[in-house]
């Protein structure tokens, strides 16, 4: 164990799909002195417990399982000789990029990095955060914890299951628990629409005759030692339970799939500015935060639906960190991105538009605030409409994209960008 500071050019926190992709891109861009720290004992992050298929369709044009997808990046990182320390938890991060970490193998280590990429992922909202009334028995799990128990440990958390929330992990676990012999009684969703991907609703609920109760929620939890049942009630437009609609379900397990929250505890230590909408860092199109030299990508930046897009974003972040380390950045003009009507959490929130020739487009990612059919996604500067394109369907369960071409970026110099959803085409 060394008590001296370890100097590195680039330190990446997390070896899930985001951290791995960022590391690969940075190394390919010529950053030789880098290190990746991962708190789990294995690389690959949450993909390791996602043994279902459906990963990689966009990136590899193949349908892979989570571990298969992860393995491709793990192998490439290994071929590139990128040092990745597993079982290593980062304890603190300072604004001047001092990183303290601890591991069973090497004890306490203090790194001084010239650049840091935040790739810590996200966590699930727990029951407590919903303040569901009732008792506090065993048998209430977040969907991801149940997934870990079943897929990583080979253990069954229960036999009669109600799922609250229709996030993708909850939907996947409805199928997984059913295939393992459990009876999934219902998937209960507060909103009038699911927050999961449509393909998961079809393949995980419909195919197994599991009812999806929209505009419903769990209003009471029963049982002392182990869960014995939950009461489910319909909610009104105000999302408050409607009296008299309560229905009892006998179950020994309640799985929660009620939202994911970026894990920004370390970012906040470094006083990285966090967006109240995405709950991730506010970043530029280089994925740089307000703290110079600290970048963010993947689910710690904003929660994605598909790992393919996490990888794509993280590759860009890794390359951007490499450019930062090499220095000599040409002059640019900073432009803000504003969420207009119907849009929540567009990322990046800032565009650094080069003052000379623009060669690369920028893709904005955002979610609509509700379901829209046959609406237009409009990008406008203060002065003019840059584009207004029709979308058949926009739903909060699926991240949407809008591309800013070099020409549009050029027209944004000295202005600001608003992205909005309109019923009519704008001009």
């Amino acid at each position: 164990m060394s008590e001296t500071m370890i100097h590195v050019d680039l330190l990446i926190i997390g070896a899930g799909p985001a951290g791995l992709a960022a590391a690969i891109a940075a190394k390919r861009a010529g950053i030789m002195d880098l290190v990746v720290l991962e708190r789990e004992d294995t690389q690959g992050g949450i993909l390791n417990q996602c043994i279902h298929n459906g990963f990689g369709l966009h990136r590899f044009k193949e349908e892979l399982t989570g571990p298969e997808y992860a393995l491709r990046d793990i192998k490439e990182a290994r071929d590139l000789n990128i040092p990745i320390y597993t079982g290593t938890t980062v304890l603190s991060l300072t604004r001047d990029r001092k990183v303290t970490a601890v591991s069973r193998e090497r004890g306490l280590e203090v790194y001084q990095a010239r650049a840091v990429i935040l790739a810590m992922g996200c966590r699930e909202r727990p029951r407590g955060a919903l303040a569901i009334p009732g008792t506090r028995p065993a048998g209430i799990f977040s969907a991801g914890t149940a997934q870990k128990l079943v897929n990583m440990e080979g253990l069954m958390p229960g036999k009669r299951v109600v799922i609250l929330g229709s996030g993708d992990i909850g939907l996947i676990m409805a199928r997984r628990m059913t295939l393992q012999g459990a009876k999934v009684l219902a998937c209960v969703e507060l909103m009038p629409y699911s927050s999961g991907l449509n393909r998961n609703i079809v393949q995980c609920l419909h195919d197994y005759d599991i009812p999806l109760l929209l505009s419903h929620t769990v209003v009471d939890i029963h049982g002392q030692g182990r869960l014995t049942g939950v009461t489910v009630a319909q909610v009104g437009e105000d999302r408050k339970p409607i009296p008299g609609t309560g229905k009892h379900f006998d179950c020994d397990t309640l799985l929660l799939s009620v939202g994911l929250i970026p894990e920004n505890e370390l970012s906040q230590q470094a006083r990285v500015r966090i967006s109240p909408v995405t709950q991730g860092a506010v970043v530029t199109d280089s994925f740089e935060t307000n703290v110079p030299g600290i970048f963010a990508c993947g689910n710690v930046l904003h929660v994605h639906d598909l790992v393919d897009y996490v990888s794509r974003e993280s590759m860009l972040a890794g390359a951007a960190a490499a450019r930062y380390l090499k220095g000599g950045r040409p002059p640019f003009t900073r432009v803000s991105v504003k969420d207009g009507q119907g849009v929540r959490g567009a990322v990046p929130q800032k565009l650094d538009i080069p003052n000379d020739a623009i060669t690369e487009p920028v893709d904005l990612m955002f979610r609509p605030d509700r379901v829209y059919q046959n609406h237009y996604v409009t990008l406008r500067s203060k002065e003019e409409v840059l584009s207004s394109q029709k979308r058949m369907i926009l739903t909060p369960g699926e991240m949407a994209e809008a591309r800013l071409t070099p020409d549009m970026l050029a027209r944004l110099r000295g202005s600001e960008l608003t992205i909005e959803i309109n019923q009519e085409k704008q001009s």
Partner: protein
Amino acid sequence: MFDILIIGAGVTGCSIAKRLGQYKGKMAVLDLADDVSQGASKANSGIVHAGYDAKPGTQKARLNVKGAGMMKDLCESLGVPYGQPGALVLGFHEEDRQTLEALYQSSLINEVPGCRLIDRDEVLRLEPNVNKDVLCALDVPTSGLVSPYELTHALADSAKENGVDFLLNHEVKALEYQDGAWLVHTSKGVLKTRAVINCAGTFAGVLHNQISTRKVKIIPRRGQYYLLDRMQPLLFTRTLFQVPTKMGKGVLVSPTTHGNLLLGPTAEDIEDGFDTATTAEGLDDILDKVRLTYPEVSLRQVITTFSGIRAHETGGDFIIGAVEGAPEGAFEAIGIESPGLSAAPAIGEELGDWVAYSLGLEKNPNHIPPTPLPKPFSAMSEKERRAAYENDPDYGRIVCRCEQVTEAEIRQAIRRPQGARTLDGVKRRTRAGMGRCQSGFCSTRVMQILSEELGLPLDMITKSGQGSELIVGQIGEKNDE
């Protein structure tokens, strides 16, 4: 035959047990739960009350002030979190001035040092995030905070180290006096003892009424709480009370010893002393009342809700000493509602010594004073962390990421004299699972460590004792459905 059986492993029973550990004798603490500190002691406000509000001349007033005065040293000797941030009792209406004046007068009679009445400007200077509509307050500089379950666990460890046994999962059904000794009928058989001490909390009234000529009525009074995430900087540094009502001290907003914010409690008289469910009405009620103190309160800050049940005795005072009208050898500390936590160190010392004296127990020459619990990894300096790791490499493995709890600490919690046997037991001793993810990430690893340390298969690991198993079997096993 036992010399002494203590019924109830809450903070009162464990305080008495720790004191009795200084004497020679065959002693045990009985509890119906699977762990110590499972009743009111694990779910209360954690306030070390200064003692300004207890009715002068009562046991409550005397033991509160005495116990609160002992608490700091006790916590230091045990290595239990304690703080003394002070408290404000806030007045929002003109008529509150009178109530606060009366509380101030009783603080003088109860000899609580340093209390003073302050005006709006000073309230807002001390606590800038308080509702600007505040008019006045009683400033109580000696009000303190303790982690009530950590205190109880540490008291139990000290008792156990000095030979006091803990018989858990023993529900006491009846007390019977026979041939100069007490027969304690439990769910696991009959135990014979020279003396019993009833500290059974909510359930103490039934046992008391079996043997006493003076009947009491103990009503389970439920208190629901919200626990908020830690925020930097702390919104409030002091415990903030509102002017009390006849149902108790009212709803408070208080930091905890760990920097969370606690909101509550409700005060609901209920039938079932086990009914620690939270209710939509109760939780809404807290938020309504808290808004008076802290108008900006938001559910987004909540990490969990819980409730505890206090033993409200209708006579209004603690009942402590020999059981009135009962044969010799029967003692009790019952009706121990607020300020029972604050009074516990004093009750333990006084009643422990009294019972030992009554039985003629000798001092234990081999008494081991408590070893303070090690500092949590999360609170260590860099140098202390390096030293801890050198000593035990398991300090290098973080299990609970939210609270930065290491594998070393989880193993220690299981190996303590009265160690953890369940997921919740580990949580209360180490804080693993108490953070914002509420054990989503660490529960599977803690289950594995419990399984290794206890030599039990994973499907026998429980959340909080038998009947709260966390998993139902291996995958691939035939399902009954």
